[in-house]
């Protein structure tokens, strides 16, 4: 097999022109997903079944099905319903980009809320008892004790989820979005050179993963600077 370097040099800038879209998918659904995760977490932490049960079902459904299936259902499935087409969500769901954001957000929201819940439950019970003994209310304990400590505990698993979200954005190319993956697929269709193109694309994703990991590593060190290792 010959490896065509000039082809790689040629197509790198083209693929990189999709970087903006890849980042929009990552950041938009990352931020919205984090927000959703927080809402789901609060729903699960209440001891009211009518809040916690729907959150649990939602999480179960989105963690229990492939994200590609979720994207297809949202993109191909939802427009079949009259009600959807007439709803205020239609301007979003009409566009492939909107569909991708919705699917990625719902998916990552479900995963991240479980991460947050794990972190909240991992906070030392003794500290919360100390808070109670000092007379702090439930909300005050959550704000001043649980949250800051849970954030520290949640950073490593959360960074894993951001990395897997980055890779999931590539699935958006299946619904006609020209992110880096979408562009790569077009180039491959034109040049019949899957190795060169996909391997260079893989390296680009790896470089981003590296920076995300580093970034969260610094963040984690910063947040736990007071805790002896």
């Amino acid at each position: 097999m010959s490896f065509d370097i000039s082809l790689i040099l040629d197509s790198l800038p083209k693929m990189l022109s999709g970087i903006g879209l890849t980042f929009q998918l990552l950041i938009l659904s990352g931020v919205l997903g984090l927000f959703l995760a927080f809402v789901l977490l609060l729903m699960r932490l209440t001891e009211k079944w009518y809040f916690s049960l729907p959150a649990q079902v939602f999480i179960y459904v989105f963690r229990g099905t492939p994200i590609l299936v979720q994207i297809f259902i949202i993109y191909y499935g939802l427009p079949q319903f009259e009600a959807i087409r007439e709803s205020i969500f239609w301007p979003i769901l009409r566009e492939p980009f909107g569909c991708a954001i919705v699917a990625l957000t719902l998916n990552t929201g479900a995963y991240v809320s479980e991460i947050l819940r794990g972190a909240v439950l991992a906070v030392d019970r003794g500290l919360l008892e100390a808070g109670s003994a000092l007379g702090l209310s439930r909300n005050q304990r959550f704000i001043y004790i649980t949250s800051p400590l849970a954030i520290r505990l949640g950073i490593p698993p959360y960074s894993n989820d951001v990395i897997s979200l980055l890779k999931s954005t590539a699935l958006a190319s299946t619904i006609t979005i020209f992110d880096m993956m979408g562009i790569a697929r077009t180039i491959v269709a034109e040049t019949y050179a899957p190795y060169e193109i996909f391997i260079s694309l893989a390296i680009i994703y790896m470089i981003f993963t590296f920076f995300i990991q580093k970034g969260f590593g610094y963040f984690e060190n910063f947040m736990s600077r007071h805790v002896k290792k």
Binding site: D124, G126, L127, E129, A130, S132, A133, L134, G135, L136, S137, Q140, Y144, I145, P148, L149, R152, H226, V227, K228
Partner: protein
């Protein structure tokens, strides 16, 4: 006689079907110093944790300064403002400096402003002799210093009663005394305290009464002198022979 600060009347506590406290009756008056001892699992922690509602008792009544502990949040909050607690494992908030650990409750619960809270915090840090550590984080202190900070943190709420749950058991031997000294100072200043501890020297020199618990019951209750020299109950004798032989 004045009304007792703490009154426990026929208190039972169950964990599932396991009965951890059996018909506990206890009265503590203002200024009294009580030492509680007994074998592991005898219910010592559970008993004092019922006093500030970290555990909820199932039967009987508990009154703190005349106020009954019920499910009412208002009563629980009121009681917790008057009862401080010091834990075996310190339980300092690791993400806050020593100063912030001490200021938190005075600000949030007592609604003091920041400078007042800081003034209170520094006052009690001086009292436990570590004002110079105010801006450190708990993990930067020795065990003995951490426990002294924890005592200062409880004092910042000016509680009527202080509960100690084995405050020196997690400490290296050379640090036990610095914590006991602080506790003795408090006792001498008239603080009402209930202290679960196996430091028998402390019990002898400080306690007004020693309570021995076994299998969820108060088995014996006596002055330290009576307790150590002339224990009545067989279980107490056995326990004392074990603990004093070390």
């Amino acid at each position: 006689m004045t009304q007792p600060l703490i009154q426990m009347q026929n208190v039972d506590k169950f964990f599932g079907s396991f009965q951890a406290l059996k018909n506990i009756n206890l009265e503590v008056h203002k200024g009294e110093r009580i030492v509680v001892c007994g074998p592991s699992g005898s219910g010592k922690s559970t008993m004092i944790r019922c006093i500030n509602r970290l555990e909820k008792h199932n039967n009987g009544k508990i009154f703190i300064a005349g106020r009954e502990l019920t499910d009412s949040e208002k009563d629980i909050d009121a009681v917790r403002r008057e009862v401080g607690m010091v834990f075996q494992s310190f339980n300092l908030f690791p993400h806050m400096t020593v100063l912030r650990n001490l200021m938190l409750a005075p600000q949030l619960v007592r609604k003091n402003n920041k400078s007042k809270a800081k003034e209170i915090a520094m006052k009690y840090l001086e009292r436990v002799k570590i004002p110079d550590q105010a801006n450190k984080y708990p993990s930067q202190l020795s065990g003995g210093q951490q426990q002294r900070v924890a005592i200062a943190r409880a004092l910042c709420m000016s509680p009527e009663i202080l509960l100690f749950d084995e405050p020196t058991s997690a400490l290296d031997p050379e640090m036990i005394n610095e914590v006991l000294e602080v506790m003795e100072d408090l006792a001498n200043e008239g603080m009402t305290m209930i202290c679960v501890t196996h430091e028998m020297g402390f019990a002898r020199s400080v306690a007004d009464r020693v309570i021995f618990m076994d299998l969820g019951e108060i088995v014996e209750e006596a002055s330290p002198q009576e307790f150590f020299e002339n224990p009545k109950n067989e279980r107490t004798k056995l326990f004392l022979s074990q603990i004093l032989s070390h």
